[in-house]
Each structure stands twice: as C-alpha cells, then as structure tokens.
C-alpha cells in the first residue's frame, strides 16, 4: 500500500516543493480520495473500494490537478493525493507572504459572489446566485433544479389552498416551504464552501456543509416527531378525516421528491462513510427528499386503506412513517453531531493513536507526550495538537518535529501543531 502512494507523491514532488510551503489553501479546500483508491491510512478497517457504503459520484476517480490551477477549473470533488508531504506543517515561510500563511486569494467565484452581493437590490443577489450555480458542480445544479421545482409546487399549492379554502393544502404547502428553506440553506452551504479560508474563518467554510447536514437532520427528526404527534392525534380523536382531496397533492409531492431521490441516488443509503464534506451535505439532501417521499407515500397508503375500510389506517401509516424517518435519519444525525462536537476522527482507530503516542515516547529525547487532541473540521480532514516534553534542550527539535508530523501524517492528520517544552 505504501508503494501506491509513493509514486503519486514522487510525481508531484516537483511541483510541491519549489516554494515551501505551498499555498495553505490547498490543505483546506481539497477533499481526500474517493472510493476507487485504497485508503492510504495504515490500517484498513473494513473499508475496501468495493464497499457499498462509499458513495460513488460520477467524477473521474483520480484527477491529478495542479495545485496552482485556479479553483474555477478544479472541480470541488476532484482529487488530490493528500499524502503529499507539502501538507505537513513544518515549513519556512518566505517573508513576503501574508502573515497567516494562507493562500490569500479567494476563489474567483467567491469573489464574484461577493461582488455580486455588493450590488444593490435583489436583482444583484439573484444574478450572483445564478452565476454561482452555473459554475457549480453537478450536485449543485441538480439541487437548484430540485429547489425550484419544490418552490413552484409549494407556491401553487399555497395559492390553490388559499383560493379554495382547504386547510390541508395550506399546511402541506407550509411543510414544503420549510423543506425548501432547508434545501436552500444546503445549496448556500455548497456554494459558500468553495471559498478559501480567510482571516476570520481560518479553517475555511467547509464546515457550513456539515452544519447544513446537521440542520437537515434536525428538521427530519422534528418531522418524524410531528408525524408521531399527528398519529397520536388521529388515534385520540378516533375520527379520521378523509382528506381525499389531499391525494392529488400527495401524489405530486411524491413525484417531485422521487425526482430528487433520483438526482441524489448515489447517496440513497442510510449508513454512508463520509469522505468529505459534500458527502454529508448531499446525503442529508437525499435523506430529506427521501423522507418527504416516504411521508407522501404514507399519506397515499393511509388514504387507500381508509377506502378499503381498514380501521385506524391513518394512525398506522403515520406511525410507521414516523418511525421509519427517525431510523433513517439517526446515523446522519450522529455523524454530523460528532463532527460538530469535535470528536476524534472516527475513521482512525484509537489504537492507532495510542501506537503513535508510544512511538513518540519511545524517542530518546522525549520524556512525555500530553494533551494529544484530534478533531475533524470536515469528514476526512483531521486536525490535531500535541504537546511534547523534551528532555534536553538544544536537541534537534527539527528532527523530532519531522518525525511526529510524519507519524500523524500517515494516519491522515494533515494539520498538526506540536508544542515542545523543555524540562
């Protein structure tokens, strides 16, 4: 496995080291391997490229893009062999770069969006949005399509509901509007995540995608809870309102959502291994539309059962839908929650960590390692900090630093800050 990684590394050794370090933006904005290459982390815990838990996108598997190409030409889920040593953080900063050491340029698109937002009025904003979407990748375009479909549908439903005075339609329209708002937030997160890190958001904007996924998950949890309440309500009231006029709207809703599921079909699994931030966002969108379609299907089923004369059909179906949505959403909720809670990277086994600690302590100059903390900014991008107590001063700290950085780099932790104290 090491050989596989060595060769891509050598091939880009040339362009990675002329200026040392490379723009730091590269370490932030690039996601990691996609499923086709083996995980270069030392231990392959039940993950192979044929593992269906990995979501495959239609991108070519191994795009070798030059770190200097402007981000407009780089697809956001293109590939960089992340093991290039240029990511390691021992570096000598050329004096003319800016103090933070980041790539100081923002994404061209990002600037466009910013410039667009400075224009006055909704029109400017709209133009900026259109521009951002047009330059976006495929999931973004699909999402925009989905959102516009949803908006059109829900406003039509709202109009019809208001005009004809049917409350059920209005409530459905509201539900859809909430969903649209969430999808818009996901879209916004997708667009904003391409921005480069700047002075305030030193880790970049990729966390927004995780946040969007978390918000989606919470909304779905709320939805399942409210469906349960509705089921309870129907159970207590014991008179099922035969909302037959809702069937048409339910069927249309189902169709629209199934289109959405088709767009995001590679994420239509409950348990997905998240390899980068977009995975989470896309998965949450897929689950959102999936849950909506389950709900519509449940309503249709309930209506049908009512016509068949099954008692308590509404209660059953709504309860079933509620439980299903809850079960489906829970893994996403846990995964996003653990990222936001700064939990240790899930894909690295704790024994790997303790092995690294042992190896560091085994160095002759090191007496103690403490405060080893690791967390993920987005899935696949792990950051850590570590404190080492060195026995004698004037020992070769560069060597120790390099060793430690190398150790953790092999685990997949790119950004590491090592503090060396002297006893």
């Amino acid at each position: 496995m090491e050989n596989q990684i060595a060769s891509p590394m050598d091939s880009r050794a040339a362009d990675a080291f002329p200026r040392f370090p490379p723009p730091k933006s590269s370490s932030f904005s690039n996601p990691i391997t996609d499923g086709d290459s083996q995980h270069p982390w030392g231990l392959n815990y039940s993950l192979s490229s044929s593992d269906r838990r990995l979501a495959f996108s239609r991108q070519p598997s191994f795009r070798q893009s030059d770190p200097r190409t402007p981000n407009a030409l780089q697809r956001s889920d293109s590939l960089r062999p992340y093991l290039s040593r240029s990511d390691s953080s021992i570096s000598i900063l050329p004096p003319e770069s800016d103090g933070f050491g980041f790539g100081s340029g923002k994404v061209v698109i990002g600037e466009d969006v910013d410039a667009g937002k400075k224009k006055l009025g909704v029109l400017g904003l709209l133009l900026a949005v259109v521009r951002a979407v047009r330059s976006g990748n495929r999931p973004m375009k699909r999402l925009t399509l989905l959102i516009s479909l949803n908006v059109a549908y829900s406003s039509a439903e709202l109009m019809i509901g208001l005009l004809t005075g049917r409350v059920g339609l209005v409530s459905d329209a509201f539900h859809l509007t909430f969903g649209c708002g969430l999808l818009t937030f996901s879209l916004f997160a997708m667009a904003a995540a391409r921005k480069k890190p700047d002075g305030i958001y030193t880790y970049g904007y990729k966390r927004l995608e995780v946040l969007a996924a978390f918000t989606n998950a919470i909304f779905l949890l709320f939805m399942s809870f409210s469906l349960a309440v509705e089921a309870l309500h129907a159970f207590i009231q014991d008179e099922s309102e035969h909302k037959h006029y809702l069937i048409v709207s339910a069927v249309t809703n189902l169709l629209v959502n199934l289109i959405g599921v088709w767009f995001f079909r590679s994420y239509a699994r409950v348990n997905i291994v998240y390899r980068n931030a977009e995975d989470m966002n896309n998965h949450s969108i897929c689950l959102h539309v999936l849950a909506d379609s389950i709900r519509s299907a449940g309503l249709i089923l309930a209506s049908w059962f009512l016509t068949l004369g099954v008692e308590n059909a509404e209660v059953l179906c709504l309860g079933l839908v509620s439980v299903t949505v809850f079960i489906v959403v829970l893994p996403l909720f846990q995964a996003t929650g653990s990222i936001l809670l700064q939990m240790a990277p899930g894909n690295i086994h704790p024994s790997a960590f303790s092995k690294c600690l042992r190896q560091i302590t085994a160095l002759e100059d090191v007496s103690e390692v403490s405060q080893a903390r690791f967390w993920e900014i987005v899935p696949g991008h792990a950051i850590g900090s570590l404190s080492i107590q060195q026995i004698k001063k004037g020992a070769d700290d560069y060597r120790i630093l390099q060793y430690v950085h190398g150790l953790y780099h092999d685990l997949g932790i790119q950004n590491l800050t090592v503090k060396i104290d002297f006893v």
Partner: protein, 420 residues
C-alpha cells in the same frame, strides 16, 4: 509580571499559589495525561458552579411552567375553549426547550474522554442550536395556524377570552423572563468593562450590572449570586474572578485589566448577553418570544373585543410579532454559527495578535494561526512560530505564551516553534 499574568488564568499552567518572586511561568506547564481536561481545577470549579446556578434557574422555570400549564389545561377543559388549550400546548413547547437547555447544561459538565478530547462543552452550543430551531419551527407553526384560522373562520372569536388568556400567558412569561434573564432590562448599555468577562475568561455573571464598572458585590437578585460568593473565598487564587469584596482588591486587579479593557470595549450587546450561559440565554429567548406572541394576541384580542368584525387583525398581529421573535434569535444564531464554524471569535483581533507576536524579538514569522472557540467563552489558539536559528526556543515559547495569555486571555495555547 508573571504574577500578574496569573490573574487572567482559567488555566493550569500558571498557578498563583506560588509566591510572587518566582519567575518561571512554567511551574507546571503541562497538564498531565494524554487527554487531560480542558480546564483545570479552578475553572472547573467555577464552571460547575455556574452550571449548577444555571441549572437551578432552569429547573425552577420548568417547574413554574408545568404548574401554569396544568392550570391552563384544567381551565381550558372546563371552559371548553380551544384557545386556552393552544396556549397550554405552547407552554409545553417551552418545557421542551427548557428540557433541551437543561440537558445541554448537564451534559457539558461531563468529563473529557479520549474520543472527546476537548470535553463536552460543545454540547451547549448544539443544544442552543436545536433550541433556536425549535423556536423557528414553532413560529412557523403559529403563522400557519393563524393563516388557517383566517381561511376557516372557526365561528366566534371571543375577543375577551383571547385577551384574558394571553394576559395570563404574558404574566407567566414575564415571570420566567425575569427569572432567566436578570439583566434583561440593561441590555442596552455598551459595557465598557465587559472585558471583565473576557479577562476572566468565562465570567458567567448573569448580572450585567456587575460590569457597569463599580463591581458592587451586593446586588439584590436572589439566586445564584450567593452561590457564586460561597466557595470563591477559600480559593488559593488571590484574585477572585467573580466578586471583589473589597475595593483594594479591585484596584490591584483592575490596574492591569484596564489596559486591555479598551481593546475590548467594542463589544456588542449580543455578546454581553452571551456572557450569560448560552443555554439559559436560549431558554430566555424562547420565553421572550412567547412574551411577544402573547402581546400580539393581547392586542389582537383587545381589538377584536372592541370591533368584533376585524378578525384579520389576528393574522396581522401574529405575523408581525413572529417576525419580531425571529429577529431576536438572529444574533444568537450568528454567535452559534461562528463557534460551530471554528472561526476566530469576535472579541479577539487576530491581526493585532499576529502583529504583536511578530514584533517580539527572535520571532521571524507566524503562520498557520488558528484561533477558535470551543464554546462561547473558551478560546484556543494554535500557531507556528518561526524563530531565528540561534534563539532560545524555550525562552521564546515562554514569552509568546505569556503574551497571549496576558493580552488576550486565551488559555489553551499550542505553539510550534520552528527554526529558520
């Protein structure tokens, strides 16, 4: 100077028990253990005190809520009025919000584990986020119900009943707002000395009056004040971070503080409000939102009572006040978002910090500077400092860490020293 760096500590590395003559910053520079707690014993004590104070407030609020809710349910069933039952359901949602806040508060005190190496402080933020989303959801439901009521005029809208129920609800909500808020009425003044909150790290007073500059320790709010008193006394820390029982103490403490009070004077109200525990604050926002809704319903009820034909006023009031409620949550949402995005906290000027570090001797450059907060008051910093080849790494490390602690009161600092 080392003695004075200590007073800003919520950190373990500089212990104040040492006599002032000891020069080294590094009595104990390193916490023990591979996954040591984020905070040391002193700040843990303060945190847990503040946590228990907040929990107490919330528990009282929950109990009150439940009492009022049962009153309303009984009254509503007796009077057979849907409006009262709806209000009772609203109170139930309040209880849910309080429950979320309570859970977050309780969970944030859990010990750190190797998997969760920073402790569970983030749970506060996530709980507050869920709570705010609940507010948005409920507001949406309310708006929907208003619209549906407009579509299906459900017969007679008794203006008087609306008015009475909403007044009762308003009174309840005001009581709870006072309980949870305390400094609510003084949210307006820019606390120039709000820095005290910062310089003491996580000074979680819920009394904004404290910060108005005169630091009176007696303040006629009941609950948690006294609890904050107790226990701080016996501390080895000679600078009590909460209450300064004598003016002389205060003078000593605040001379060095004044120098960077000005740097942090530009703090906004939203941030002052966040000196209060964020979960208590989000519960407070819930209650505040309910107050506004009740006011809206009151106005609507009064107008309908007077002019029974204008039922549309119900919808208008609901919409207007829903918008008001949503705007109150925006500030807090922004703060939460900033923490979750690992951005540089507002109160810390990263450029200034970086410039200040660069100006030190032997420091050639700073790069990969990351400042982020684990929760609203706890800030961490990590950066790489490049020094001249002949410099003394330990010395530079001490200086840098001392500077950051003194000036910005950032406790958890990880500096990687590299030689050119």
């Amino acid at each position: 100077m080392e003695g004075q760096t200590s007073q800003s500590s919520q950190i373990i590395e500089v212990t104040v028990d040492m006599p002032a003559g000891v020069s080294s910053l590094g009595g104990r520079r390193i916490c023990g253990g591979a996954a040591c707690d984020f905070s040391d014993s002193k700040s843990t004590l303060r945190d847990s005190k503040e946590r228990s104070a907040s929990m107490r407030k919330l528990i009282i609020a929950v109990i009150l809520c439940i009492i009022f809710m049962s009153i309303e349910v009984i009254g509503g069933i007796k009077a057979n009025s849907l409006a009262i039952l709806t209000d009772a359901a609203h109170l139930l949602s309040d209880v849910a919000a309080f429950a979320i806040s309570l859970f977050s508060l309780w969970a944030s005190g859990w010990e750190a584990t190797p998997r969760q190496s920073y402790g569970f402080f983030r749970i506060e933020i996530l709980g507050a986020l869920v709570s705010i989303q609940l507010i948005w959801l409920l507001t949406g439901i309310l708006v929907f119900e208003a619209i549906s009521r407009m579509i299906n005029p459900s017969g007679d809208v008794q203006g008087f009943l609306m008015f009475a129920v909403s007044t009762f609800g308003l009174v309840v909500n005001i009581i709870m707002a006072v309980l949870l808020g305390h400094d609510h009425g003084h949210g307006g003044h820019g606390h120039g000395h709000g820095h005290a909150g910062h310089s003491h790290g996580h000074d979680k007073h819920s009394h904004g009056h404290e910060k108005s500059g005169d630091y009176h320790s007696h303040h006629h709010d009941d609950h948690d004040h006294d609890h904050d008193h107790v226990g701080e006394h016996g501390h080895s820390v000679s600078f009590s971070t909460h209450h300064h029982h004598s003016r002389e103490d205060k003078k000593d403490v605040h001379e060095p503080l004044l120098k960077h009070s000005d740097s942090e004077k530009g703090s906004s109200d939203g941030k002052k409000a966040n000196q209060r525990n964020i979960n208590v604050h989000s519960a407070y926002l819930h209650v505040l939102g309910d107050c506004f809704q009740s006011i809206g319903v009151m106005i609507g009820g009064a107008i309908i009572w007077a002019y029974p034909k204008w039922t549309i006023i119900d919808l208008i009031c609901t919409l207007v006040f829903s918008v008001i409620v949503l705007t109150t949550t925006i500030k807090m949402l922004r703060n939460i978002l900033e923490v979750l995005m690992e951005s540089t906290p507002r109160e810390i000027d990263a450029t200034r910090l970086e410039n200040g570090l660069c100006e030190m001797d032997d420091v050639v450059a700073i790069h990969e500077l990351h400042i982020w907060a684990i929760t609203v008051g706890k800030v961490l910093l990590a950066c790489h400092v490049t020094i001249t080849p002949e410099a003394d790494a330990e010395h530079v490390l001490d200086k840098v860490i001392g500077y950051i602690r003194r000036e910005y009161n950032i406790s958890h600092v990880t500096i990687q020293i590299e030689r050119e």
